[in-house]
């Protein structure tokens, strides 16, 4: 039975990918624009699936990195930089933010719900900070940050000197979604990914084997931030706008719903570890599977 299902798996994946791209020619533009935001949030959801689902890091901070990516892209694109530089910055700024925040979190041995509280607070602080920078003095280059009004008129992504229209942006987002998924699948199967899964299951045991859990968790956190930042940049380019609404947790909540709907197997270990952290339940608690079937 399972062998037969395994035989169909590549075919099912191929069909899913064909459907993901083929839909661009099948639906009207308005529907495609809506679908595009789902695809972009699915990339954000994948960063959640990695950080929470695979590594068990109960982070509410993915929206922070999503927002940093969106603002980095918007500010640089509006300052006349090319899409490559703006997208590069949308990866690098969240990476730098995650490295700084993650260093203090993981090397300070903060975990479980405490990490959730701190990352949630960080997202709210950034949300309120961005809300306040509404005066004309708050500029980065030629771009006014706009406070709660956000930054309008964000240019679309240009590839090979050609600005992408809505359909092309959808195809780019879909291609990036497939690439990110495949990359993460490879990461989870790699030795690094296996060690990260082991750290999620029992951090002390992994350390007693000689693995530095702090460095591994920081690595995953930073990779997750880069993916969230990429999603943020796509979101800014999709809407031609970025505002502080991308930063707080409603965005995270939306992405986590997306993560659990799109990729429940990836989320289950994270949900189980969060449940254990919140309730103090032991690993063996009946009915709470300790990481069933995460994708490795």
């Amino acid at each position: 039975m399972s062998a037969r299902i395994a035989g169909f798996k590549p075919l099912a994946w191929a069909l899913a990918v064909v459907a993901l791209f083929g839909v661009a020619w099948l639906v009207d533009l308005a529907t495609l624009v809506t679908l595009n935001v789902y695809v972009i949030l699915s990339i954000l959801a994948l960063s959640m699936a990695l950080v929470w689902g695979v590594a068990g890091i109960f982070s509410f901070g993915q929206s922070v990195f999503f927002g940093l990516g969106a603002y980095a892209y918007a500010v640089l694109a509006l300052n006349g930089q090319g899409s490559a530089i703006a997208l590069g910055a949308a990866l690098l700024l969240p990476v730098a933010g995650a490295a700084l925040m993650g260093y203090f979190l993981f090397y300070g041995r903060i975990s479980d719900v405490y990490l959730g509280v701190i990352t949630l607070t960080a997202s709210l602080i950034l949300f309120h900070l961005v809300n306040t920078v509404s005066g004309s003095d708050f500029r980065l280059g030629a771009v006014a940050l706009g406070g709660y009004n956000g930054i309008p008129g964000v240019p679309p992504i240009a590839l090979f000197g050609q600005e992408l229209d809505f359909a092309q942006l959808y195809l780019l987002s879909a291609a990036l979604l497939v690439l990110v998924y495949a990359g993460l699948k490879g990461l989870v199967r790699s030795r690094f990914g296996q060690v990260v899964a082991a750290i999620r299951e029992h951090e002390l045991r992994a350390e007693l084997l000689g693995y530095d859990a702090r460095a591994h968790k920081l690595g995953v956190f930073v990779i997750g931030a880069a993916i969230a930042g990429l999603a943020g940049a796509l979101h800014a380019a999709w809407g031609g706008f970025v505002g502080p609404d991308v930063l707080p947790t409603w965005c995270w909540a939306r992405s986590s719903c997306c993560a659990c709907c799109c990729c429940p197997r990836a989320c289950c270990p994270g949900c189980a570890s969060a449940y254990r952290a919140a309730t103090g339940a032991p690993h063996e608690r009946p009915g709470i599977p300790a990481g069933p079937g995460h994708p490795h």
Partner: protein
């Protein structure tokens, strides 16, 4: 007897090691030396400080005073993984295994830290052979029996090819049959200069595996020597039976 080994040649060497929790002295100026290749049991009644000493040796608990030298390196201030990387394999009192991973995946993660960097696959096969757990290699740890989980944890320790093995109550909660097999397994881990330290309550198990024992009581070393002599010592017997006049005197 040969000349006493220098601290550099010892697997474990502590000097006046103390651990305090507020006003409670859990480990009190312990001087412990374990030679390379030795199998030592650390015994003592509940609250004697065995587990605290064990945690201090493995970097899980910082000492309040004194020095700890493991395999020739002073490890005060070392992180847990840094001590492990010296070639120290640890099995904790409450079994610590990767419940959501399979036996195979768990051993592969452990074999990734093999001291001589041998290929992971061959190390895993060897360990599974030694543990006789080949039949369950594809099963998740969370689905195994208590004894099997303990053995997989021992297997993870073995897969790193440690020079010093520290085992905290390896047969706690095991049946008679499982205990016998664990004793066999621990004895088979000896060799190639590998030192093994076992913290244990079960005296029959201690007699079965140990040559030399150290008795802890109230955080301090009470007796240290050959297993038969120490276990026959009236003071040690009284400590275990709860009569403590000898100790207070």
């Amino acid at each position: 007897m040969s000349a006493p080994a220098s601290p550099q040649d010892l697997a474990i060497h502590t000097e006046d090691l103390s651990v305090r929790f507020g006003g409670v002295v859990a480990v009190d100026r312990v001087n412990l030396s374990v030679a390379r290749g030795e199998l030592r049991c650390l015994i003592g009644p509940n609250g004697a400080g065995k587990s605290t000493l064990f945690k201090t040796l493995t970097g899980q608990q910082a000492p309040s005073a004194g020095r700890v030298r493991i395999l020739g390196r002073e490890v005060n201030g070392f992180e847990r993984h840094e001590i492990a990387r010296l070639g120290v394999g640890v099995k904790t009192q409450v079994s610590s295994v990767f419940d959501g991973l399979t036996v195979d995946a768990s051993l592969r993660v452990a074999a990734g830290r093999h001291r001589a960097r041998r290929p992971v696959g061959s190390v895993v096969d060897e360990v599974l052979d030694q543990l006789r757990l080949g039949a369950v290699r594809r099963r998740q740890l969370g689905a195994l029996s208590h004894g099997q989980r303990q053995w997989v944890e021992l297997g993870m320790v073995l897969a790193t090819d440690p020079r010093l093995v520290l085992l905290d109550e390896p047969v706690a909660g095991m049946s008679e049959e499982e205990t016998a097999r664990t004793a066999e397994l621990i004895l088979s881990m000896r060799g190639a200069g590998r030192a093994i330290v076992v913290v244990e309550h079960d005296m029959r198990f201690v007699r079965r595996i140990a040559e030399r024992v150290t008795v802890l009581h109230r955080g301090a070393v009470l007796r240290d020597g050959a297993v038969d002599a120490v276990l026959a010592d009236p003071v040690v017997r009284d400590v275990y039976l709860g009569r403590e006049e000898h100790v207070r005197a």
